[in-house]
Amino acid sequence: MKKLTYFPGCSAHGTSEEFDSTLKLVLKTLDVELEDIPDWNCCGATSAHVMTENLAYALPMRNLVLAEKLENTTMGIACASCYQRMKVTKVHMDENPELAKRINTTVVEEGTYQGKVDVKSMLQYAYEDIGLDIIKSKVTKPLNGLKVACYYGCLLTRPKNITKFDSPEYPVSMDQICEALGATATEFDYKTECCGASFSISNTEVVENLSGQILAMAKESGAHAIVVACPLCQSNLDMRQPDIEKKQGIKYDIPIFYFTQLMALAFGYPIDQLKFPKHIVPVEGALANIGKVEPVPEKVKKPIKAVEAESEVK
């Protein structure tokens, strides 16, 4: 039994409750015990670092200090934004003891920051600490036939000198996890494009534009669904999808899963435990592809040949 300090983040009790609950199912199967940070607080998200420097470090630091009181050496974080704020704070504090001392004055009663606890996103933890072989060995209901576009967003792999995980341009960890579950990961070029993130409420037009491009590219890649590891990406792509469809006049109908939901499904958990009714875009259509034999694609190379012929004529 492995033990892991857990930081769920505010959205785990709200918009991404299904991420939190399916993550717990998955880790139960993988024999990992989670230990919550007692009385954790919000990491400050985008707003803290947009408005002020000190608070942007102080809020994550309180959680880091509280996490050091538990015995585990690693903290796993569900939300991508919480992960990045916590990791940025950790890296900057470890690099600059003077700064750490100054920021520590804001949480002096909680304790002294020592930099003992490593910070990982749950995707990174699943990929590095658990590993594809073990994930594969737990699959009882493979997702054969389901084609997914794995969408990482900005925060899980960037900036690369902070996250030190996977590729900032074309990451593959989630693709490999999905393939281990039996699904097919499509060639998806918008893996790390921004969904509009914190503009969800204050600047919805930008989000509809950026998320619309991601949906269009996922559809074009032939995916039945998009897989994410970030609550804000999920809600931007899922909750705003009907509005995007109306604006663009295109029907996407592409559900947005957390990677933990697909893992729990492949690990054999009954469908009523996976919180699919919480999704705005219905999931049934995509899930119907599981178990279906793939039809052989009809002359995929046709358009390329046509272009070649044209250039020959010229």
Binding site: N41, C42, S47, A48, P159, G196, F199
Partner: protein, 189 residues
């Protein structure tokens, strides 16, 4: 006139470099950041131009631009920058300097972006965590746009996507104290 190292007061370039930890002078204006930036089309000046304006010491123009408010800190630009400049940190430095010196771009969009961040921080100060429903409601009230996203509300609430309440922190006092000390640190920079 370019006033690099003018007497007494720090130049804008120095201020930004110190605050961001980057060296803006390294920028050779290739424009890769603009091509990469997902929101450059909404900016008064795209990142490449902001970099050049910093080099030229155009302090007021940079402060008043909406660019640093539109930057999403997605770090796509810095990942592709051939000079490996931390452009989001530069944008953040400009924004923090502008806030400190009370320069405020008063366009509707920037007002709304700023209001959102203020409300979000207010939620943390009050509850220690984000109270999503209340945050959205307050945003609509404070930006006088009561019906924004209301068409999403019935579905989101019925499906339990957005819960009605929030579980506040036990140590709410610790958060209030943190905010107070952090504010003091901001002032004594």
């Amino acid at each position: 006139m370019i006033t690099l190292g003018s007497q007494g007061k720090n130049t804008f370039l120095e201020d930004v470099n110190v605050k961001s930890g980057a060296n803006v002078l390294e920028c050779y204006q290739c424009g890769k950041c603009v091509g990469t930036c997902p929101v450059s089309q909404y900016m008064d000046f795209p990142p490449r131009e902001i970099m050049q304006m910093i080099k030229l010491g155009l302090r007021n123009e940079c402060y008043m631009a909406n660019s640093h408010w539109f930057c999403l800190t997605c770090s796509a630009c810095s990942g592709r920058c051939p000079r490996e400049i931390d452009i989001p940190a530069v944008m953040e430095a400009v924004r923090h300097l502008a806030i400190d010196e009370n320069y405020i771009n008063d366009s509707k969009k920037v007002r709304e972006i700023r209001k959102f961040h203020e409300i979000f921080l207010d939620m943390i100060k009050r509850y220690g965590r984000n109270y999503e429903l209340r945050m959205m409601a307050e945003f609509n009230i404070r930006t006088r746009n009561l019906f924004k996203d209301m068409h999403l509300a019935p579905k989101a609430l019925l499906k339990g996507k957005i819960p009605l309440g929030v579980k506040p922190l036990k140590s709410a006092k610790a958060i209030k104290r943190m905010f107070a000390i952090a504010e003091k640190l901001e002032k004594n920079k």
